[in-house]
């Protein structure tokens, strides 16, 4: 079977993938918030 270092690299890879996925989620949330604000202002403006 695999030794412990391989499992360590698997944990590090999992952390990196989690970080990337979390970053993408944060970016999406921020943009969605901006869109909602712009839409509401445009609605009041019209």
């Amino acid at each position: 079977m695999l030794n412990d270092k391989v499992y360590l690299w698997l944990v590090i890879t999992s952390c990196i993938a989690l970080a990337v996925a979390g970053t993408l989620v944060v970016i999406e949330l921020i943009e969605l918030q901006d869109q909602n604000a712009a839409t509401i202002t445009n609605l009041f403006a019209s």
Binding site: D4, Y7, L10, V11, T13, S14, C15, A17, L18, V20, A21, L24, V25, I27, E28, E31, D34, Q35, A38, T39, N42, S46
Partner: protein, 294 residues
């Protein structure tokens, strides 16, 4: 390291990889709602402007169409009035056409009458032309006759000129004879002064041989057909005597001698002396001169 931890680590890796794949797919395929909103609002505003413009143009067109409809209605009413007027004119024209038909029938009858008159006039014209041709022929003949008469007139004028010249010559001879008479009268006056007895004797002879002149009033032929009896315009008052001879002449041309057979008051019949006829063939005519001496 226990087996459970190892399984947990692998599961965690798989789940994190799946989560990352899902998030990356969503990030790649997500919709930009803001940009879509802006584009759609812009397109809708443009469509709204174009629709308002088309609405304005259509409303203007509608107003124009309504105006046109109103004008067409007025035109229609006017046309209806005109149609009524034209119908009235049509009835009037129909009445006129009937009158014209009547006039045409009358004109046709007049034309037939005039045609008959024309035919008769043409026949008379042909007759007149024929008569005209005859008259032109007669005129040509008359021109020829007039030409001959002109020629004769020229000859007569020539004769007249010759007679005028002879008349002037006779006047000249008459003047000469008058001068000679004056000279003889002067001579007689001298004889009367110097020899009165001789003058008285000559004057007695002269009274017996006085000159008598007459004119031939009529001429009658004798039993032989030749001219034999002549009536002279002289009588007892002029002192003519029976048996006296007269000379018949015309224009100083001798014709013949006649002898008085009977004396009336103003006429004297005479007989032609047959041996005294002239040699030129002249015969006695009414109006010839007669004298007892030349």
């Amino acid at each position: 390291m226990s087996l459970a931890l190892r399984i947990f680590i692998v599961l965690t890796l798989v789940m994190t990889l799946a989560f990352m794949f899902i998030q990356m797919t969503l990030f790649a395929t997500r919709e930009n709602w803001k940009r879509r909103w802006d584009q759609e609002t812009k397109s809708l505003s443009v469509e709204l402007k174009t629709s308002t413009q088309t609405l304005a143009s259509e409303s203007a067109g509608r107003v124009r169409a309504e105006n046109q409809v109103a004008s067409l209605q007025t035109d229609r009413t006017n046309d209806q009035g005109k149609i009524k007027e034209l119908e009235g004119q049509i009835t009037e024209r129909a009445a006129k056409i009937q009158n014209l038909d009547r006039d045409l029938a009358k004109g046709q009858t007049d034309y037939n009458a005039l045609k008959e008159d024309y035919q008769t006039q043409s026949k008379s014209l042909d007759m007149v032309r024929q008569r005209n041709g005859e008259l032109t022929n007669i005129a040509s003949v008359a021109r020829a006759v007039a030409f001959n008469l002109n020629v004769k007139l020229a000859e007569v004028e020539d004769d007249l000129n010759n007679l005028q010249t002879e008349h002037t010559r006779s006047l000249e001879t008459l003047e000469k004879t008058s001068e000679e008479r004056k000279q003889s009268d002067a001579f007689v006056a001298q004889v009367r002064d110097k020899f009165p007895k001789v003058y008285e004797a000559l004057a007695g002879e002269k009274g017996t041989t006085a000159m008598l002149q007459a004119v031939v009033a009529a001429v009658r032929p004798g039993s032989t057909g030749q001219q034999e009896f002549v009536m002279l315009s002289i009588g007892k008052e002029e002192g003519v005597q029976e048996g006296q001879e007269f000379i018949i002449y015309r224009d100083n041309k001798y014709i013949c001698k006649v002898r008085i057979e009977k004396i009336m008051n103003d006429m004297a019949p005479a007989r032609v002396i047959p041996s005294s006829w002239n040699t030129n063939g002249l015969t006695i005519q009414q109006g010839d001169q007669a004298a007892n001496r030349l």
